[in-house]
């Protein structure tokens, strides 16, 4: 009954004042719309979706820094060499798995012999890559340890690349040319969004099948690979970091003989921190980022809340005698407060659903605008689908922000209404 009355009265109010209702709904929906876009912009970076479903268990070493006694304060910054990655992180035992892969996918020509080539994004990986990331195989399987160790020219390709080259996706065992070298397809996976930044590619090959191991700078200490560890559980993170640091110290002892020192700036980073690490030579501050996001949310909530407060206030003014009568018949202050908040929550939720819907649509159609990546080697657009945009947490956040917005926009007017003198309220006097 209480709840039904909230709906009834909310609806009646919406109908009574069409313009004010439109303003209220528009203001609320707009606020939730933008807030949810901000939420989604963050979620595509940290929320799990295939092939990065284990984002909450990832620890990344995207890059590192190196210095030499002879350089003074200077450092050299960038991705690691295969040697460094293997010796420091590759042999770790605490994580469930560790993968080493090229830092960016690179655009390379692929073709069938005698046919024009297309450019595809190629990522060079080890075989652990397929354990850490959960690709959806629609044909064949990933390359295994033996194939990787032998440096065999095999490739996992996406559905789209398979279709383009062979007109079908059942192509395991077929050959094609990648950078003018023959490669054999060992598996076909579903296409991957560029938003899965770490795993993204269109073709994946063993880095042992190319010259990646010798593709180095600063002796063979720096190169073009990164690494990602998959923890068994987030609670293992400290132990993993500890092991990583221990191994780094050992490695530094070894390379220190030639004056080198590898600096890891508190890596490995978890997913949230890693997406902020757009440069190799600085450590991102997650707290500052969170604070900035908090300020954005605050502005997106406060400004409309002030507006809505004023609307709520005006609407309540028209119902002042009702408030008095309810109080006369035994409604407590808290009950009244609850009722006003409840009625407004109905409106807020209604508008919130509208805003959330708008944000989904906008995110879906405007993906290139909204999720444009900061700096990447691929020019392919960031595609999105439901598995990327819609999580249980998305709705959780939307609901939470609706509650907060409702509290901010209705709290003060409702509190004032509940404190009002009953006699004056029944008489319709405001102050």
């Amino acid at each position: 009954m209480m709840i039904r009355q909230y709906f009834q009265q909310a609806w009646a109010q919406l109908r009574q004042q069409p313009l004010i209702s439109a303003v209220t709904v528009a203001g609320t929906a707009l606020s939730i719309f933008l807030i949810m876009l901000v939420v989604m912009m963050q979620q595509v970076k940290v929320a799990p979706f295939s092939p990065e479903s284990n984002r909450d268990r990832f620890l990344h070493v995207k890059w590192g820094s190196i210095t030499n006694e002879a350089w003074g304060e200077s450092t050299s910054n960038g991705p690691l060499s295969v040697r460094t990655a293997r010796e420091v992180y590759g042999k770790m035992t605490t994580p469930e798995a560790v993968t080493i892969y090229s830092v960016f996918s690179k655009s390379r020509p692929v073709s069938l012999p005698g046919q024009p080539a297309i450019s595809v994004d190629v990522r060079e990986t080890d075989n652990q890559f397929w354990t850490v990331f959960d690709f959806v195989f629609i044909d064949g399987k990933p390359y295994d340890q033996a194939t990787f160790d032998a440096g065999q020219p095999v490739a996992v390709i996406t559905e789209s690349v398979a279709r383009h080259l062979f007109k079908t996706t059942q192509v395991t065992g077929k050959e094609f040319l990648l950078a003018h070298a023959p490669y054999r397809v060992c598996g076909v996976v579903k296409d991957v969004s560029t938003l899965a930044e770490t795993a993204y590619g269109q073709v994946w090959i063993p880095y042992t099948s190319t010259d990646q191991i010798n593709n180095t700078w600063n002796e063979d200490l720096m190169g073009f690979v990164s690494c990602t560890m998959l923890a068994r559980d987030r609670s293992d993170f400290p132990a993993i970091r500890e092991e990583a640091n221990r191994r780094l110290d050992e490695y530094n002892k070894l390379i220190g003989e030639d004056g080198w020192k590898f600096i890891n700036r508190n890596r490995p980073y978890d997913q949230e921190k890693n997406v902020l690490a757009t440069g190799a030579n600085w450590e991102p501050d997650v707290k500052v980022e969170r604070r900035n996001r908090f300020i954005i949310f605050l502005i997106l909530l406060i400004v409309p809340a002030i507006n809505l407060s004023s609307m709520t206030q005006s609407r309540l003014r028209r119902r002042i005698s009702e408030i008095g009568v309810r109080r006369a018949f035994g409604c407590t202050r808290m009950e009244l407060l609850g009722q006003i908040l409840g009625e407004n929550l109905v409106i807020t939720l209604l508008a919130g659903i509208l805003g959330l819907l708008m944000s989904f649509l906008f995110a879906y159609w405007g993906n290139e605008l909204i999720f444009a990546q900061q700096y990447s080697m691929t020019l392919n657009p960031p595609t999105v689908d439901a598995s990327i945009l819609i999580h249980a947490s998305t709705f959780g956040w939307a609901l939470l922000f609706c509650f907060i917005l409702n509290l901010l926009s209705t709290g003060i007017p409702a509190w004032r209404a509940s404190r009002m003198n009953i006699v004056e309220a029944i008489g319709g006097k405001n102050h």
Binding site: M1, F329, T332, I422, V423
Partner: protein, 223 residues
């Protein structure tokens, strides 16, 4: 037995240095089952007195005893529960909630106690039958005549089965025919159910029909 006991009630309003004494040392007892009418010119303090009896307003000084309970220092929650249980209100301009239909309006006081939805509905239907509006349960207040509105308001006042009904010029906004209907209903509630009624009125005729009339002038009881 006294249903309402007012002792030494003073009410002073202060606004910007101006002090108005709305009630001055009022002592008034209303017995159980009595139908008391209060008369007096505008601004004499009769409405203020009714509000104080209804615990909607607090006196500046004096004590109030209602149904044997000394009402003093009650918290909002207790006060609300007390009003809900013991007092029913009828206002001059009905004060029905326009966005709710008749039966929802009538049920209102029961919302603030623990009564099941089924029970509420049942009681509301019963009181609406009593005021002769069973056929209007699903109507909205705006679809009713003034007299019907006031009967809905009376149904609302009695649904919680309070001992006391406080009516502030209940016929003030009605024509004489509808006014007579409403008065008849109030008398019925007084005589058949034994409810205590206190009514503020300007109408001598109506006052004469009640069991007792007190008159106020300038905040003082004059008769």
């Amino acid at each position: 037995m006294n249903m309402i006991e007012l002792t030494g009630i003073n009410k002073i309003y202060r606004t910007n240095e101006i002090e108005t004494q709305a009630l001055e040392n009022v002592n008034l007892n209303v017995e159980k089952g009595e139908f008391l009418s209060i008369m007096g010119p505008s601004g004499c303090g009769k409405s203020t007195l009714l509000n104080i009896m209804g615990l909607l307003d607090a006196p500046t000084s004096g004590t109030i005893r209602i149904a044997g309970t000394l009402v003093e220092g009650m918290k909002d929650k207790e006060l609300a529960a007390f009003r809900n249980k013991n007092l029913g209100f009828v206002f001059q301009s009905f004060h029905l909630i326009n966005s709710l239909n008749v039966i929802d309006n009538v049920e209102l006081p029961l919302l603030y106690r623990n009564v099941s939805a089924k029970e509420r509905r049942h009681l509301a239907e019963e009181v609406l039958k009593k005021v002769g509006l069973s056929h209007r349960m699903r109507h909205m207040p705006t679809q009713l005549s003034g007299g019907q509105c006031q009967r809905v308001a009376i149904a609302r006042a009695i649904i919680g089965n309070p001992e006391i009904i406080l009516a502030d010029e209940p016929t003030g906004n009605l024509d004489s025919k509808m006014g007579a209907e409403v008065m008849e209903l109030l008398h019925q509630l007084n005589q058949e159910d034994g409810r205590t009624i206190v009514m503020v009125t300007h109408n001598e005729e109506q006052a004469r029909q009640t069991s007792r009339t007190v008159r106020f002038f300038d905040g003082r009881q004059v008769g």
